[in-house]
């Protein structure tokens, strides 16, 4: 069995000690090891933010793109080479603010990618601005009177956009997190994993303690059926999104054809050229 250490490149994370993202990184490494994904076939793509630095710590092929665009890049890679295991990762600002359009459309497009959001309900890297999932009234330097509107519900949004896999995890529950990530990777289609990953430096509200107190878990519920879309919706509404576990998985949906564009030969012969020329008529 592969060891999770093999997926670490030994670079010391720039994260603050205690940041939730350490646990996410470790969980991803363990999941990769458990699933025995060859390092060279593992692709981790991220945006910009504290959390997005995650790609720089995985010993695999890794791409740290620009803010909000991890998903388009990841999709381009997956379309190029279906044999890769493609993980997109980033923060709540990266994914739900500047990247909101791509989030919706990647969900709709349903390529076989796993999208991990390290949701700390704040912009860590810019030193603590409100994010789209910050609570109403949340005070930051850009919202000194408190964040005005209600937070987005990433889970609901993803289901509405046609998600075929939705799970939520918490940095503090590493075992569950590892399981969830593994299931997400195994899911054939777009799997969205929303992880509550506390920013211990700037978010003094949504702390480890706070999550421990407020998070429900469906893993404990015997009768929860992850294939029931309406139930997933209801569960998210009931818990205001504060729930962990695999909320929804649609195994029936027809997957779109996968492509291996890298395998397509580049040069075409003269006959093919003449055919294409004739087709211009």
């Amino acid at each position: 069995m592969a060891k999770y250490q093999e997926y670490s490149n030994g670079v010391e994370p720039t994260w603050c000690k205690g940041c939730g993202d350490f646990s996410v990184l470790r969980s991803l490494q363990v999941a990769a090891a458990d699933l025995k994904i060859p390092q060279e076939d593992l692709m981790v793509v991220s945006g910009i933010g504290c959390s997005s630095r995650i790609s720089g710590y995985m010993d695999s092929y890794t791409f740290h793109g620009v803010h909000g665009r991890a998903l388009p890049i990841a999709q381009g890679i997956k379309l190029a080479n279906k044999d890769l295991t493609v993980i997109a990762a980033g923060g709540d600002g990266d994914g739900f603010a500047i990247g909101a359009g791509h989030f919706i459309h990647s969900t709709k497009r349903n390529l076989d990618i796993t999208y991990i959001v390290m949701n700390n309900q704040i912009y860590g890297l810019t030193k603590g601005h409100a994010s789209p999932v910050s609570e109403q009234g949340f005070k930051t330097p850009s919202t000194p009177q408190g964040s005005e509107d209600l937070p987005l519900q990433p889970g609901l949004l993803s289901l509405s956009a046609g998600a075929t896999f939705l799970a939520q995890g918490f940095s503090g529950y590493q075992e569950e997190l590892i399981e969830i990530i593994k299931k997400g990777i195994e899911h054939k289609g777009f799997s969205f994993i929303n992880i509550f990953s506390p920013c211990i430096t700037f978010n003094k509200t949504n702390t480890y303690q706070w999550y421990r107190k407020n998070l429900a878990s469906i893993s404990q519920e015997g009768d929860y059926d992850p294939e029931n879309y309406q139930q997933a919706m209801a569960k998210l509404l009931e818990t205001k999104g504060l729930v962990t576990g695999i909320l929804y998985e649609n195994k029936r949906i027809e997957k779109r054809e996968e492509t291996a564009l890298t395998k397509a030969p580049l040069a075409l012969g003269k006959a093919e050229f003449q055919k294409l020329f004739q087709a211009l008529y």
Partner: protein
Amino acid sequence: MNKEIQVLIGGVQGDGILATGVYYLQVLSRMGYHVYGKRHFTSRIRGGNSAIIAYGSVDKKGCPKDDMDIVMALDEDTMEIYTKKLRKRGLLLYDAALDLKVDQEFIKDMEIEIIPLPITEVVKDKGKMIMKNVCSLGFLTRVTVIEPKLVESVIEDAFKDKGEKIVEKNKKVLQGAVNYDFTSLKGVNYLIEPVTKKDRGPVVIGNDLIGLGAVMSGCRFMAAYPITPSSEIMHYLSEHLPHYGGKVVQTEDELAAVNMIIGSSYAGVRSITATSGPGMSLMMEGLGLAAMTEVPIVVVDVQRKGPSTGLPTKHEQSDLNILYYGGHGEFPRIILAPATFEDCFYDTVEAFNLAEEYQCPVIIMSDSLRSLSYENIEDLDFDRITINRGKLEMEENLQDGTESFQRYKNTEDHISKRVFTGMKNGLHHTTGLEHGEYGFPLGPKDDYRGQAVKRMEKLAPLERTKGIKMYQEKDNKVLFLGYGSTFSVLQQAVKKMDRTVDYGAIKQIKPLPAVQLKKLLEHYDTVVIVENNYTAQLRKIIQSEIGYHHKLDSLLSYDGDNFQIEEIKEKIKELI
């Protein structure tokens, strides 16, 4: 007998005007003419006036001539807007169902001949309104005395996919026009001379050739968001790429498009996107990322009239500045400007090679006229197609080491080897942050300059290319340079002069072929840059990079259309 004929067909947008024109071009092409077609259209789908200029000639042109031999009006706006474009003793044809609306004085002065044609009548009689285009074609070919069999063959080919019945119905309408009992038609002097019986090839638009160029150069992925006047490239590739294991994705916006091809190209697939000005503005961030991560991408910008939404269906060459200078920070890019119709093909092939050789974005800077104009294409040289993927590291050469792959290794030519995800022992990190040779972000103890210099200097060899194609060099005092579609008008103007003028096309816009350009600026007293914009963008770039302000001169136009040949001739006369 004339060696050329230029007809403007105008009518209500959506009424098949374009089809009439294209059929006519196809007829002329099969007769052995070189053809050129140009659309005048607006951003509305139906209604409003639209027109096509169809030009057939013994010589290759690449642009329209200034005046029309024939105007065929299928609505009143066409008479109003275009009659004045007729040459002396030109011919105005119009659907007899319309009221004649012309400036009588002009008609008299210019001795315009006017012939009403029973187009609506014949269509109603022989077929359906949708066949008006075929009927118009019938009358037009009759007036210009073209063998009906040839016209029939074009109609047969055009409708054969729709089944025998439709073909027959259309032929009936065509014959209705051809055989209409019509005494006033005698004496028409627009007979044209069939130069050769050789079919001069399919009638296509520049965008089709960019598409074909992409397929032939091994491009297997496109991500794009539709926009006039670039969408046809996506249409072409959507149709053809799947046959070669390729794919096209219509994205949610241009930000997604450019980033998606960065992803696919990073993973090893030659990839393209195409857009126009507004999309270009949105792709600036992506260009910078591609350049910083040294991922090769090909981006087509088919320029339209700006700024902002501007005039989406009108022509301009005003994106040059953003292509040359746009994007925050400093990063390398290559810009090619196809000057001729064939260039659309060959430059696209070259774009993919340059992108991978230099590992940076390559922009194909086209323009509305270069991309949307129709021409017939006789031949493309298969042997000119080469595929050069630049520096790639083979999987078998990768050694298992404790260190990751040096993706950004400093080398003499500043270009490092690439590997693709999936290759064993090639693991490495890629980031838009400033990084070192291994690709990892730099820290406070590092010198930040190394990779910046590497990126900026790697294009230096391109400053020594012959990126300006000289078409005439007779040691004159004045040189005229055009680029993109502007070049063709320049060429026609020169050819129509009784004196010789040196001229050429700037094909490699960035890096400027500095060595060659400097030589030319040394040699000539005056170098005139002919461009379709307000601020003389290319001239200003040359001034910035090379100098010679006192020798540089401009000919500018920004009215949304191509230059008139006469305008350029005037300028030439002024200077020599």
